[in-house]
């Protein structure tokens, strides 16, 4: 039952990532083409452009959502692959625990960065 729920979340987060990372990739990797065509703002990784995006509520919220969804999806995927190697129960528990701790820690760090940069607005 627990594994079915985790699997369902794996699919739900995949759908969330598809939308949000699609948007992120569009901004980051179609930016140069749009810029060359005279559409859109400056280069996507220039500091002004990065901070302009990071200080908009929409981007701050979507960054945190994407961070959570991608961490769950990626770490659950890694855990599933490792579990297929017929490991002992102890090793499975250890891997599951490590993935959960790493996921929470990275989410807190990434979330802190997103909020802190958003709050730099106007400073």
């Amino acid at each position: 039952m627990r594994e079915s729920k985790l699997w369902a979340w794996h699919i739900v987060t995949a759908a969330i990532i598809l939308v949000l990372l699609g948007l992120h990739m569009g901004v980051m990797h179609l930016g140069a083409i749009l810029h060359a065509l005279g559409i859109g703002a400056g280069h996507p990784t220039h500091a002004d452009e990065v901070f302009r995006r990071s200080q908009q509520l929409f981007f701050m919220v979507t960054y945190i959502l994407l961070l959570g969804a991608a961490l769950f999806h990626g770490l659950y995927g890694l855990r599933s692959m490792l579990f297929e190697l017929s490991l002992s129960k102890t090793a499975e528990k250890l891997i599951g625990g490590l993935c959960a701790v790493a996921g929470f820690a990275l989410f807190i760090y990434g979330g802190y960065v997103a909020v802190a940069v958003f709050r730099l607005k106007g400073v």
Partner: protein, 144 residues
């Protein structure tokens, strides 16, 4: 107690398609691309975290990653993303029972779910290739 079969192939079981056809290689590539994206994503969290220290720190970080080697690496991640995302849509559709047809008694000429979803597989691969070409054009513009 879960009823689990022992994986005697280990890591080779992930990569070898054996006699299972194109979808099995798509599965192996999906996992490989997933692992590559995860490795990049974990680094990406820390790299983009440098912006918390202001624009000067961000410019310094971006300067470090501006060499052609890193750009090629970034393009490889983009290719992995394009494949993983589009193939992932196919996997979700198949998981939810779309494009695989209804189960039925085997009758000649035999039709099975893998074969019935093959057109979807082809469309997905073409879409992934188109995304890769568009992304490649963007990287070419950025490198110039």
């Amino acid at each position: 107690m879960q009823n689990k079969l022992k994986n005697n192939l280990g890591l080779l079981g992930w990569l070898s398609g054996g006699r299972y056809g194109a979808e099995r290689y798509a599965y192996a590539l999906h996992r490989l691309s997933g692992l590559g994206i995860l490795a990049y994503f974990l680094m990406h969290i820390f790299v983009t975290g440098s912006r918390v220290n202001g624009k000067a720190q961000w410019d310094q970080t971006m300067g470090f990653f501006s060499s052609p080697l890193f750009k090629i690496g970034e393009f490889m991640v983009y290719l992995a993303f394009a494949y993983h995302a589009i193939n992932g849509i196919r996997l979700i559709m198949v998981e939810l029972g779309y494009m695989v047809g209804r189960p039925g008694l085997p009758s000649f000429p035999y039709s099975y779910s893998t074969l019935r979803q093959r057109p979807l597989f082809v469309v997905v691969m073409v879409l992934a290739a188109v995304l890769m070409i568009i992304g490649g054009a963007d990287f070419y513009h950025m490198m110039r």
